[in-house]
Amino acid sequence: MRTFVQNLRRYYSFFTGGFVMFVLTLAVAEYMGMPEQWIGWTFMAATVLLYASIGTLTRTADVVEYYVAGRRVPAIYNGMATGADWMSAASFIGMAGTLYAKGYDGLAFVMGWTGGYVLVALLLAPYLRKFGEFTIPDFMGARYGGHAARSLAVVGTILASFTYVTAQIYGVGIITSRFLDINFETGVFVGLGGILVCSFLGGMRAVTWTQVAQYIILITAYLIPVVFMSYKVTNVPVPQLVYGSVLEKVTQRENEIMADPAQVSARTAYGQRAAALGKEIDGLQQPGNALPAELRQARIAQLSKERESAEAKSRPLTHHAEPFPGDSAAERDAARLNFIALTLCLMVGTAALPHVLIRYYTTPSVKQARESVFWSLLFISLLYFTAPAYAVFAKYEIYTNLIGSSIIELPNWVHSWAKLGLVKVEDINHDGILQLAELTLSPDVIVLATPEIAGLPYVVAGLVAAGGLAAALSTADGLLLTIANALSHDIYYKIINQNASTARRLAVTKGLLLAAALIAAYVASLKPDTILSMVAWAFSIAGACFFPALVLGIFWKRATQAGAVAGMIVGLGLTLYYLIAVKFFGMEPWFHIADVSAGIFGIPAGFLTIVLVSLLTPAPDPQTQALVEHVRYPRLKNPAV
């Protein structure tokens, strides 16, 4: 064990040093005149090649190695692997952009995606490690008996992980298409290759050791641009410490923009457009319209979308640092309620996502599982407490240097991202000057364009792309493995064919992994919705399906099979019903709660159902109670109660 840890340290120090040298070499090459396109390709090729070689070196035909990396991943390395597993394309690319757009209200994501680890540490990780099997459905199956709880858990795993993995592959498509200059669909399938080279041959073992490398790349890539940006704006290279003063300047600038007549004229122009679109929609809704019904509906839907965006642009801007802005007290209260609901759903969802929880099966002991959650959150926080700084610096640059400049002289980065449709500029009041309302930014563009906005060499942009790719690939790997393991281990091995040989089980897992990856890539290539809203769904789904049954299974011996099954059905059912009814069928939201926070209803409903149904059914048998007792103590000398 000791030499194993020493070797790990040596490998990863060597790797980090090598990576720094690689980036510096490229920087020198750029200085000597290497074209941008080559730098992009070199970054992509080198990192993917690296993942592929780790994946090949750690290939395995052993079940414990393939499913849980041999249970010998030291706490600190499991922490890094969890960090990469956890931080997805949405965290890396999307979050700073969301914070840019939403200000304080976006911090629900920062708190939700970190505070969830408190629940993991205190309520789940040590107990699951003591239980020590392979998957989360495994725990459901053992604790509640029978195939019903296990199968439901598999359904929940797939529902939560599949939306999530689709979003990752979508992120890969965006990055590769921008930096390799290929079209989006090709980018998606290039990315798919990158994902499969890590997980296919070595399962969890390969994914773990690739993820450690990916963490190092993604955190370096995330920090460097904002450190430079901070130095450029404030002369202090610690963005997290100094962005308070920049935030103050942003607030001043916001006041100026609110008062500036040119800005007001642009907003008014959008207000007029929204009104005109409203009239057109009304006209279409009149009876006796010549268009066929179907075409009319499609036209109305499109116009409504345009009206919504025009209306948003006509509103005066809100302050970045102001919590829950709104015109009336009722609006502000609704915003506050949504903030709290979203934070809770993200936290509970974090503590219930199977691909995160199975990482704690891989440590050597309960003690190390506890320590490992600490390392996980420490490594994760490094990114999450930098993201708000990104948003503030980007806002400062855009508000002071871009807004108010001449539209024909906009900087290059605006044009290069406009080509991908992520930045839009429209001179609605024809004054040739860019007003805030005339600029449309996709949230994804903030992190990806910051190096260019800060005027850094192209090599930094390439580094950021490599980091985003690492974030998306590592999460996609963890998710695909979780899906494949749930299907092959829980459905195929535990339910269909308990006599399957090791070789056969691994063959089935690999086949399913490939199938899941192809389906996810196909769905991603259709470009559904934005990354963040899709990922946020998975949290409510996972939270409502797993969290109540897992926590009560550990902390309440009286929880029964019927209770757990009913609770999972009610929790998951209510969440899905709310998500779908509000999002697609225009149902009036309950208490103004947005669809992403559907779990706020599903999670308590799940808890309540488990408690009620358990109390109405006979207590679990002594064997189950002994299992609960078994997971509660790291080591029991005499297992009898």
Partner: protein
Amino acid sequence: MDKRRDYWRKNLWLTCNLLAVWFVVTFVAAWFARDLAVYTFLGFPLPFYIAAQGALFVYVLIIGVYAARMNRLDEDHDVSEQER
């Protein structure tokens, strides 16, 4: 046997207390965010600081305290595992 019950009770007590801290720093602070906005901390409006950095520090601390306390509790109550 009592020692074991004692262990579990202490574990629950620690867990509940730490969850209370987690709850206050997240939800109580967010509920009163608009009222706290008049204060500043390190140049940040206080509620912004809490949600963007302060809460994160507290979460890391909670988990660190839990791991350290539980690992010691294991030893005291004779339920710690032998490390391989």
